[in-house]
């Protein structure tokens, strides 16, 4: 690990003024620093800022960026009104990691691409312009949607997938004191030619909260994660589904996907194929077609295309069928 300057911020304002890399839970950043994938010169410890509460606001929730994953998953309001978020959080990592990992940090978790982690490998995300060893290499865990000819790494998170389906927004503080509210839909950037730039955050901008709007009334929520072992593994495919029906017709549908793309993936066309429809096989197939029409496998990850279809159709069936 390269050495660095360390300071602890005592307020969000001081944190953004300090001009360094923020560290809170550290479960991802330190992992990468040990490998010198990340080599920040200055760490600003924000772990003791007063951003660790969940408050009710505007009919929804305002979640402090430092709320640990464990606490958020166990929050009675989250369990009652956003069970998809609880489920997604609990499907991620391990008990120990969830105790340390924070809401803001989890949004910014970096890819688990093998070649991003191997500093001898080519990786445009780690070293812009160096190439991509996943393209043409072993890419079983890589993206089938949203990738570019520069990068096909996936976002590894679970929590952000649920938040995407729940229409969350990210609240930030900029060094100039401005606050922003960024819909999660606009928060992540696709890799394109700049895979090292993953979000719209500006230098020094601090995530302070995540805002969840009121949950859709009468909606069912499911998070389903498919992985290589029963626990403690990243998603090959995951689906967060929030669907409401009225009199046999789908009136609200929000489907977000993990493991498929460089960011928590949501496609309006999927939902358009469902809203106003009866919950039929044809509608589910149409939704899956909409999701996967642009999907592209890279060899080892080709299986994600049929897998995503099967999981989506099953989740839709569970969301719209007779309650178990």
């Amino acid at each position: 690990m390269k050495t660095f300057d360390y300071s602890r911020a005592d307020s969000p304002e001081a944190a953004v003024a300090a001009g360094g890399r923020f560290i809170a839970g550290g479960t991802n950043l330190l992992d990468l620093m040990k490998l010198e994938v990340e080599t920040p010169e200055r760490l600003v410890d924000i772990s003791r800022l007063d951003l660790n509460t969940v408050e009710e606001k505007d009919g929804g929730l305002l979640i402090g960026a430092l709320v640990p994953n464990s606490d958020l998953a166990a929050d009675p309001r989250v369990i009652a009104n956003y069970p998809v978020l609880s489920r997604a959080l609990l499907a991620g990592a391990s008990g120990q990691l969830r105790n340390k990992a924070t809401t803001g940090g989890n949004l910014l978790q970096r890819t688990r691409c093998y070649f991003f982690y191997d500093t001898h490998a080519r990786c445009n995300k780690r070293v812009p312009g160096s190439g991509c060893d996943a393209l043409g290499g072993f890419n079983r865990i890589h993206a089938i949607l949203g990738g570019s000819d520069q990068c096909i790494a996936t976002h590894p998170g679970d929590m952000p997938v649920a938040m995407r389906a729940l229409d969350a927004a990210v609240v930030t503080l900029k060094p100039d004191g401005d606050r922003r509210r960024i819909p999660l839909a606009d928060f992540y950037r696709l890799p394109g030619d700049t895979p090292h730039i993953e979000t719209v955050l500006e230098p020094g901008e601090l995530v302070t909260h995540v805002a969840l709007p009121a949950p859709p009334t009468g909606a069912r929520q499911i998070y389903r994660k498919v992985r290589d072992r029963a626990s403690y593994a990243f998603a090959l495919v995951s689906v967060a589904g929030v669907v409401a029906m009225t009199q046999g017709t789908i009136t609200h549908a929000a489907l977000a996907f993990g493991g498929l793309a460089p960011q928590p993936w949501r496609d309006a066309a999927v939902e358009a194929a469902l809203i106003g429809q009866a919950p039929t096989q044809a509608a589910f197939d149409a939704a899956a077609d909409a999701l996967l029409s642009g999907a592209r496998g890279h060899g080892h990850n080709d299986f994600k295309i049929p897998l995503a279809r099967r999981v989506l159709v099953t989740v839709l069936r569970d969301l719209t069928g007779e309650p178990a």
Partner: protein, 163 residues
């Protein structure tokens, strides 16, 4: 740097880069906390910080000023074993012993989470978790045991929970 470790105030002046794990092991000679992977992928370094189980390898010591840290040595010594330690011996919840302190600290932290009503990935009703064997296994899946003594580890934890 000041910490409370196993109930005692301790001071150290570690390298700014040092993980809590390395400070415990190399500065304070508390080598019961193990390093298996150093990347949060095995759980051998599990300790309780302010009562919560975490991976000591993935946190900087410098971030733990004044924190209350409990390691396996604080849980019980070889002649005054904690009930969880006793249960691991009785049920043979180990083989080589290397993951064991982490398993035990994790189990103690985990049962506390259950007592607080925290659900898990395999909980049917998120608001009312019931600790069965599947729950224990899921909640302990952040602790690898390469010897794979998982069934007897579950036995030990179940016994302590039911006691």
């Amino acid at each position: 740097m000041r910490f409370t470790i196993n109930g005692s105030k301790r001071e150290a002046d570690p390298d700014i880069r040092a993980s809590l794990l390395d400070v415990l092991r190399e500065e304070f000679a508390l080598t019961g906390t193990k390093k298996g992977c150093d990347h949060g992928q095995c759980g051998a370094c599990t300790v309780l910080v302010n009562g919560r189980r975490i991976n000591a390898c993935l946190t900087l010591a410098v971030m733990h000023q004044d924190d209350d840290i409990l390691t396996i040595e604080g849980l019980g010594s070889s002649d005054t074993l904690h009930p969880m330690q006793q249960a691991f011996v009785r049920h043979d919840g180990y083989q080589c012993g290397y993951c064991t302190p982490g398993q035990i600290c994790s189990a103690v932290g985990m049962l506390d989470e259950v007592a607080k009503g925290w659900p898990s990935h395999v909980t049917d009703d998120l608001s009312a978790p019931v600790l069965n064997d599947a729950e224990i296994s899921e909640r302990m899946s952040g602790n690898l045991c390469r010897c794979s003594a998982y069934p007897t580890i579950v036995d030990a934890i179940r016994e302590v929970h039911e006691a």
